[in-house]
């Protein structure tokens, strides 16, 4: 077992930022006021939350957008889809949920569960090309008067590939009359993209703190004020009635602190990580049988998704881990076993190719030394598994 570790799994969770940890400290010991209370400790908590709300609104959307703090990306997506659909079906005979087949399970399984629960709710899948990008024509074909919500992720969490979010916005926001509400799961996009550029035409956006150096179990749904959502939990009506339960001040403050750092450093980190990725991929391309899944210009800088011909992800990850490299296959099931990814299946990648899928994700902490180590170890592992070493 290697002593040193090299982290290439930012996509699963970015290293917690010092600035985040420090911002959370005052809200993690001693008296932490309940933001709903009447005394000064409560008012202080309330103020911290409202300040955090402003920062998150500016990070994701527009200053006037509403921010609902949630327990992470999955809950944000669930609140968006379930909230809109439950509201929609009170006034419509049929409620369509339109999603891409490459969505994260947070969206995919929420949509399928709603269709399972209600006969009048249907899930319609958009067509995707061989990079998993939704086609413009299928957006125009599927969005119509029965559409409750269109949910397309900003960036795919496994491949790093961008979706045409401005097109989604233009179809729903006026392109098709009564074209439903648009939502984007921006969890994988948040470390890289300037999200307000997308929110002009998108109604709701979900983010998660732990992908940008914040705490886990912290996220937000950012939405236009006029959108009506059925609450996910009622309780005491916190978060403007959308999410009952005491708001976690530390989680909200931590999310905001992470947003602040990403905003401040985005340009510089994008540039640096792009260069690291170029260095990594230039070397990986020399290894026979390694195929990088998407071209550079179609994806975020920090994500390299690839397949290794004839080898299984499980064995690659095992030996990479032995050598101190933390990476991922992109998809795993509830038991922890790696599975053939639904994203790759939607891209019509053959199963035997998809079985050799790996995802290396980088972030602001990744160094040239990390990348060089990965290159050396990865080549060694591939040749060893092929019995050529």
């Amino acid at each position: 077992m290697s002593e040193q570790s090299f982290y290439f799994d930012h996509g699963a969770g970015a290293p917690r930022l010092d600035e985040v940890a420090e911002a959370m400290v005052p809200w993690q010991h001693g008296v932490v006021g309940n933001p709903s209370g009447m005394h000064s400790a409560s008012r202080a908590a309330r103020r911290a939350i409202e300040d955090a709300r402003d920062i998150v609104a500016n990070f994701v959307g527009q200053p006037s957008h509403e921010v609902i703090f949630t327990g992470g990306g999955t809950e944000s997506c669930h609140l968006a889809i379930s909230g809109v659909v439950r509201e929609h079906r009170q006034h419509h005979e049929v409620s369509d949920i339109i999603i891409s087949p490459t969505e994260h399970h947070a969206v995919l399984n929420t949509a399928l569960a709603l269709a399972d629960e209600f006969d009048d709710v249907r899930v319609r899948f958009l067509d995707v090309d061989d990079l998993g990008i939704v086609t413009t024509s299928s957006l125009w074909d599927n969005v119509g008067p029965n559409t409750a919500i269109v949910s397309v992720m900003t960036v795919n969490n496994e491949t790093g590939v961008y979706q045409p979010i401005p097109v989604v916005g233009s179809v729903t926001a006026g392109g098709v009359p009564d074209g439903g509400i648009s939502h984007t799961d921006a969890v994988a996009a948040a470390p890289w993209l300037y999200l307000p550029a997308l929110t002009e035409s998108i109604d709701m956006i979900s983010i998660a703190a732990h992908k940008i150096g914040g705490p886990v179990n912290s996220g937000a749904l950012v939405l236009r004020r006029e959108i009506k959502l059925s609450p996910v939990s009622v309780g005491g009506g916190q978060e403007r009635g959308h999410r009952g339960g005491t708001v976690d001040v530390a989680a909200a403050v931590g999310l905001a602190a992470a947003c602040r750092v990403v905003d401040r450093e985005r340009m510089e980190v994008n540039e640096r990580v792009s260069a690291l990725r170029a260095r990594l991929e230039a070397a990986l391309r020399y290894i026979p049988g390694v195929a990088i899944t998407a071209t550079e210009e179609t994806r975020v800088p920090g994500c390299t998704h690839l397949t290794v011909e004839g080898l299984a992800s499980e064995e690659l990850l095992f030996l990479l881990d032995n050598a101190g490299i933390a990476a991922s296959a992109g998809a795993s099931c509830s038991s922890g076993a790696s599975v053939v990814s639904h994203v790759l299946q939607a891209m019509k990648m053959p199963d035997d190719k998809a079985r050799g899928a790996l995802r290396f994700t980088m972030g602001r902490e990744t160094t040239k030394e990390d990348v060089d180590q990965l290159i050396a170890v990865f080549a060694d592992v591939v040749y060893r598994l092929r019995g050529e070493k």
């Binding site: 499980e314 064995e315 095992f318 030996l319 032995n322 099931c333 509830s334 038991s335 922890g336 076993a337 790696s338 599975v339 053939v340 199963d351 060893r384 598994l385 019995g387």
Partner: protein, 352 residues
Amino acid sequence: MRVLVAMSGGVDSSVAAALLKEAGHDVVGATLKLWGGASDSGCCSVSDVDDARRVAHSLDIDHHIFNYTSEFEAAVVKPFVEDHAAGLTPNPCIECNRAIKFDLLFERAERLGFDAVATGHHALVESWNGQPTLTRSVDPLKDQSYVLGYIQGPILRRLMLPIGGMNKEEVRVHAERLNLRTWNKPDSQDVCFIEASRGREEFLGQRIELTSAEVFDRVTQEVVGRVPAAQLVTLGQRRGIAPGFDGERRFVASVDLVNRRVEVDRIEAIMVSAIALRPDSLTFAYDEVPNGTRVIVQWSAHGRPVSATLETSDAPRLILDESARPVSAGQSVVFYDAETGRHVLGAAQVGR
């Protein structure tokens, strides 16, 4: 040695891992995810994986999950279904051992740099005639050498079976001593991919067309009953078969899927003294034994061992010393050394 332990989440493999670690080996645990569908028994559920992982944590060893669901489907489940459709009686646990655990897992372990693979089976690998040989467990009630019968020399050289030298009680004592959370977990019994509550009939019924059949008395040729699924009827079976007019028990003498006909007869009329073996299925741990070798055979997991002579001609068969109820085609017979009765020589499938 660097040892990969297959950990099902049960008490046996938990103790196997613990003992190897105590013996100073460099141990890594792996749980095989085999079945992707619903299951309420056996060893594929999230809670079993969880048990294995938590035992590994408590032993301070690494734990991994290896997903073999597509290989399991192709090598175990699909043949299980097809064999039933063809009127055979397959043993999926034997197939899983042969195709997955003692083949794919061993190949993987070698690629990943392990010197040996261990499992929690109740059996031993003993040096016998100078070669590592699969041997019965010291606990006759728990002995699992039967389901491992097809393992061959190259695998036996890298196989460790740490608990074959103790009985179940001793295994549990170890588990309790080590404070393993699985110490009082009940043994798994059934086929892991079939829900006990729903049964074989429903599982197969969703995959193949089960045909009902009329039951005839072989002597009188009168219809004496009906079975809902002829594919599930096994030669020699008594369960579900009504006694004859004379009040004596009847046993299944033949099953004809095409003509939907099951014939039954009295026990003494169905007894056989030879068992035909499928020629291409004959497997030996090392060299093929000479024609006419005296062996002790067993054709079910906890069946009674019977003395026999093994004919390894073009039409291989077993000549039994004492007659027995007929054995269905597709079942496996394991051959043990005639003198020790404990050392496995090989195995074969029963032919038609």
